[in-house]
Symmetry: C2
Subunit: 232 residues, 2 copies
Amino acid sequence: MNHIKAIAFDLYGTLFDVHSVIDQCEKRFPGRGREVSTVWRQKQLEYTWLRSLMNRYVTFEQATEDALRYTCKHLRLDLDEPACNTLCDAYLRLQSFPEVPAALRELRARGLKLAVLSNGSPHSIGAVVGNGGLRDEFDHLISVDPVRIFKPHDQAYALAERVFGLARGSILFVSSNAWDATGARYFGFPTCWINRGGGTFDEMGQAPDWELRGLDEVARLFDGAERNAPLA
Amino acid sequence: MNHIKAIAFDLYGTLFDVHSVIDQCEKRFPGRGREVSTVWRQKQLEYTWLRSLMNRYVTFEQATEDALRYTCKHLRLDLDEPACNTLCDAYLRLQSFPEVPAALRELRARGLKLAVLSNGSPHSIGAVVGNGGLRDEFDHLISVDPVRIFKPHDQAYALAERVFGLARGSILFVSSNAWDATGARYFGFPTCWINRGGGTFDEMGQAPDWELRGLDEVARLFDGAERNAPLA
């Protein structure tokens, strides 16, 4: 792994748990919190992909709010403006996965440059990372907002090359989202898929170079030659 | 509606019921047919959007097969090659919705030019329409395959203008898929959303010009001035 000089991490679902909004959803819609969170996340993703494909970019916050409005209409739940604001605000206060803070510190200690590369806006990324107490762990917080198209479009991944000033082959990309890991690998990043929940990778013609159970396993890739071997 | 000279119909989910594959799924995976069909359709759509966004086009048949493979892995169901072939073949033998044949004949009788505009390949569209006995109802079967990008990208919708030889404002677009109706409307087609199941339209900054309960209601748009008024 000597050729890897920097790591770009996906934010939502990779460093931070998007389903940590369940508590707020449950408070507002008792007994329906998990269902709301699941549909909301699915629609949020769909809206980023579809708007990119239609060339009708809006910020991630806007897509998130639109997805929440759809979700509540679809589930026949009443969403007033204060509730909408509270729930969207919860997306700025996500919980990081438990192993994340120590894992980031360990990777920094190895001299690697670290960045977030996220579909979130600069405001969202800053808020999530700051509220999670992780701002000092990153050299860069990279938002797709300047190129106005979401991952998995190539232009979004290309931002990491530009900001790090490194070629794609020397940037490790880390994501829990299989579609994101697929896009990153097509772009040309060596790619880790963090599969915490025993999920199934997508069938879009790519496989991750490494499939790991948590972020703490990323540092181990840099330990010894045997452990560094990518998947066949 | 005097300005409307032609109608372009989405195929999957609009003229033909994608969930008519449930019977075949149920035969292969007893008790799991509906679940398989639901995940399969969702992933099929995702793969068309994501591959378009990654600029990694494959045919709709390939995306359909990939989505089925994902679905069976995800649901821990064994899919051998004969079963895979049988189930993918079922996507070429979908049932049309009951009102569709008569509705198409009525629209043709009014002198309107009719086409299918589908993400399917020419082979798939021809097979589905032919197996459904509807080939004679259409002037054109338009596949996105020549432009190698799926709806809702503008280039896909633009094919209908080219094939009909008409400007977008004189082509009515009809779809049951809210994301498709959204893309069509951004493109500039007057757009009907066929909402058979009391679904919720997507929140991506567009609304359909008309929301109808079935294809039989499309002809009524051409009946009288009052009925022709688009939604506010």
